[in-house]
Symmetry: C2
Subunit: 513 residues, 2 copies
């Protein structure tokens, strides 16, 4: 005998949450397809080394991912795919490390690299002319976070779309359009969210212009990324000498930039009012007269994206430019975008809380290069399905509960073939019908089961009804609605329940639904 | 740099195969829902002990599954869910074994047990009165088969439906109806498949009647299960003294049943003509006058199922009774059913091959008992999604290839906002539209990309067209159809290509699709 339980951080998903999860997946993928993306899938499990980043160094599971040794012993390969051999020319064998995918981007890099591998090995892939590949994918990803914050999970679903092999920033414009269309198709209305657009090249060019060394870029951006959390004063302090964290009292060492530079960054960050039109912000960016190559390029790209968004009607109600928006991940190289949910919710303590970012993405031209050394431009975005489902639940945005099936009460086992015939006739019309098979056969117990499943109607046929050729049909849904309004039991019953001839049942029930 | 590759036995699923996979999932779940099943999900990873069967004994990954130690150290529990402690009252900690699910049934047992656990611990669950739970679930499962036969995979998808907590064989009748409806909804027509129905109780009762000891039942059934492969002579030999395998020449030791018994089994197995009506076969089973309890019960159950199938119109074109059908798995306890695909296909060597079983299920009343010791009746079935997809491909049953998006040729980067506007207008009507973003910009290369994606129409606008306010629209789909029929290039072009004013584009393209 065993104590039945799930692994900590893993969940069973019930019918209700599953409905919401698949609502999000269906509505988002409908939009992804509308922009020409194909549905591809990759395995849940991959060789650890092909996923990069989390390469296990010892024989142990490494922090952050679920990783283990392949039970199969296999040849070792060099980076050209040639088997390694020892001095006696025997193939070197090993149990490779396997990792459960921690996102859908690393497997995309492996998949794309594999698709072009033969051509690449035969020098038939020109840099800058790699094959175009546009796919979406959804499914669970796995993170082993040693400390599991409340509301965080170790298995959660993502839904990604990516364009690999295009350096056109028109794809970045499109990515903003896709996120916007997807969110609205899911049920988040215009005005309830905003997409923030920026370009890493703008930040980089600006930092270069005020004398930040390029090797410090990543650190500076990591600090700027905290703007929402610690405010502009905190950012400026952390760029310079450091600051004392208000909550913990701990001192956080600063980057040690000189005051002129940190003041310059502060000035840059506060100088844009994101309520302004994109045109105005682009003008401000232009008026800074920064003339290094990367800044000029970054600005030109934003102008190009803006022109496309304007032409296609995605105005400032949908996409704004926010030059202070960074996005955490280190691998972005160009345009970045992030959808912020503008609503608030009340947390467990009843406090109002901002939702913040719900999805985003950007251009990451190092994707394939990190794996096989070939520069291939790429841009894409990801919606955290479970995170969005949670936010929709917290903010009351969940679409109407799905109606359960029509319910046939099992009053008398001997009438089972009759119940089956009725169910079968109704199903032929496409209706969802459930006959009760439970062991607890009391009418109350049966109707309580139907209630839990949100059933719309209950069909009741006992011996008497059967002999008369009728069925009692109870409108469970209407019954619930009227329960508060009508206190008189007789009146309630007369509205909610009626007798219908069995041979009229299909038509009458179709009318009632 | 890394050699990019997948783990052996794992696959990337391309757009085409994914379309087929999701066609099967959608069409099957549509039917499952129509019978009142809810969509629940369980994690991919579970504590090994809760999945039973493949419990790792050592610290090693065990044959048959992917299993590894949880990176997290956690308390040990007894089977009541109480933490174990040492003599000093310290909680005993361990890294539990985790297993990637090898099917969807074992996690169902864990999930159901967990759902009723509190009530069960407080003695509020009466045996025979356990809660009714009906769910469907789909997703990948994992098997580490050391020897991987061609066409077999270590990650593959299943789609299960199960009724837990009902001993009514009406659910078994329903399961046959569901498999039939699901297969037809997927596109396998009546006459192309047949569902075979049997009852383990019939076999068991018969074996008891001729003197087979109940502890030999499983072995005998394992041999009978080979009937399709080794024929009736092979089965009789293997029940008795053994036989020489024709292909390998190896001698297979028999069960050593005496001749009277093995002859009796042979007689039973060949005495039913499955072309007969279910009524006739039930009469034959009845005429054997076997009067032990299990046989009588098994026959009564088949009669009940037959009555329901007859009443609902599932005749012998859909469901037959085959008393020699066993199904491999040891855990079935009552009615079993299996859909056989009647078509053939040609294998790689051009030889005609029978497809055989494509899905099935049965009653397994030990499901929950094996885990927590509570008897809860259950019945369900599973469709192997990837296996069915493969068979549909092999037998040419794949539904029409899905049309790709409308394709907008990128002739001139400066016209990108115009392309975007056109795409946006078309998408607003729900059309799928892709603008070409690839690095290889030749018209031929662009159209070759569109061809690979099965695009229906191509919209071509260059500088000339733009100045005239027109677009050239090429009907790629029609073009392919006419390519064989029309050899004159001019005539072909006149049928396949036309100039359309940009402001009429949406309407004209809707007409063309």
């Amino acid at each position: 005998m065993v104590f039945p339980r799930k692994i900590k951080g893993f969940r069973d998903i019930d019918h209700g949450l599953n409905s919401l999860r698949w609502h999000i997946i269906e509505k988002a993928t409908e939009i992804y397809k509308r922009f020409g993306f194909e549905h591809w899938d990759s395995p849940t499990l991959e060789y650890a080394e092909t996923l990069g980043k989390y390469l296990p160094e010892a024989d142990e599971v490494v922090d952050g991912v679920y990783s283990f040794k392949n039970p199969e012993i296999e040849p070792q390969f060099n980076d050209k795919g040639t088997e390694l051999r020892d001095k006696s020319n025997n193939v070197l064998m090993t149990n490779h490390h396997l990792t459960m995918r921690y996102d859908l981007t690393a497997p995309l890099a492996r998949m794309y690299s594999e698709l072009i591998w033969q051509k690449f090995m035969h020098n038939q892939v020109q840099e800058g002319k790699a094959d175009l590949f546009r796919r979406f994918q959804f499914g669970p990803v796995y993170r082993f976070e040693a400390k599991l914050d409340p509301g965080r999970f170790r298995e959660f679903w993502q839904i990604d779309f990516d364009t690999v092999g295009s350096d056109s920033v028109a794809t970045d414009a499109e990515n903003c359009m896709i996120l916007s269309d997807a969110l609205e198709n899911i049920g988040i209305k215009k005005g309830e969210y905003i997409i923030k657009l920026n370009n890493r090249k703008i930040i980089k060019g600006f930092l270069e212009s005020i004398g930040v060394k390029s090797e410090q870029d990543a650190d500076v951006m990591r600090v700027i990324d905290k703007l929402d959390k610690i405010g502009i004063t905190g950012v400026t302090e952390e760029l310079g000498k450091g600051r004392k964290d208000e909550k913990s009292g701990a001192f956080i060492t600063g980057l040690g930039l000189n005051k002129k530079i940190s003041d310059g960054i502060e000035k840059f960050l506060v100088s844009f009012d994101t309520n302004q039109t994109r045109k105005k912000i682009l003008e401000s960016l232009s008026s800074l007269k920064i003339d290094n190559e990367i800044y000029v390029q970054g600005l030109a790209e934003l102008l190009e994206i803006d022109a496309i968004l304007e032409k296609t009607g995605y105005d400032e109600q949908t996409v704004i430019i926010d030059p202070s928006m960074i996005r955490g991940m280190g691998y972005y190289t160009g345009p970045i975008f992030e959808a912020e949910y503008l609503g608030t919710y009340k947390d467990a303590k009843g406090q109002k809380r901002k939702v913040g970012s719900i999805c985003g993405g950007g251009r990451y031209d190092g994707l394939v290069e990190n794996l096989i050394g070939l520069k291939v431009p790429a841009s894409g975005a990801s919606i955290g399905v479970d995170r969005l489902a949670e936010i929709m639940t917290l903010t009351g945005k969940v679409p109407q509960l799905i109606d359960g099936p029509v319910f046939i009460v099992n009053f008398d086992d001997h009438l089972m073939p009759e119940y089956q015939k009725i169910a079968s006739d109704l199903r032929k019309e496409g209706l969802e019908v459930e006959i009760y098979y439970g062991a607890k056969k009391g009418l109350k117990q049966q109707l309580s089961y139907a209630d839990k499943k949100n059933c719309t109607l209950a069909i009741i046929i006992g011996e008497d009804e059967f002999n008369k050729g009728v069925a009692t049909v109870k409108n469970l849904k209407l019954g619930k609605e009227l329960a508060d309004k009508i206190s008189d039991k007789k009146e309630w019953t007369s509205k909610v329940q009626k007798e219908i001839k069995v041979d009229k049942l299909v038509k009458e029930i179709q009318k009632m639904l």
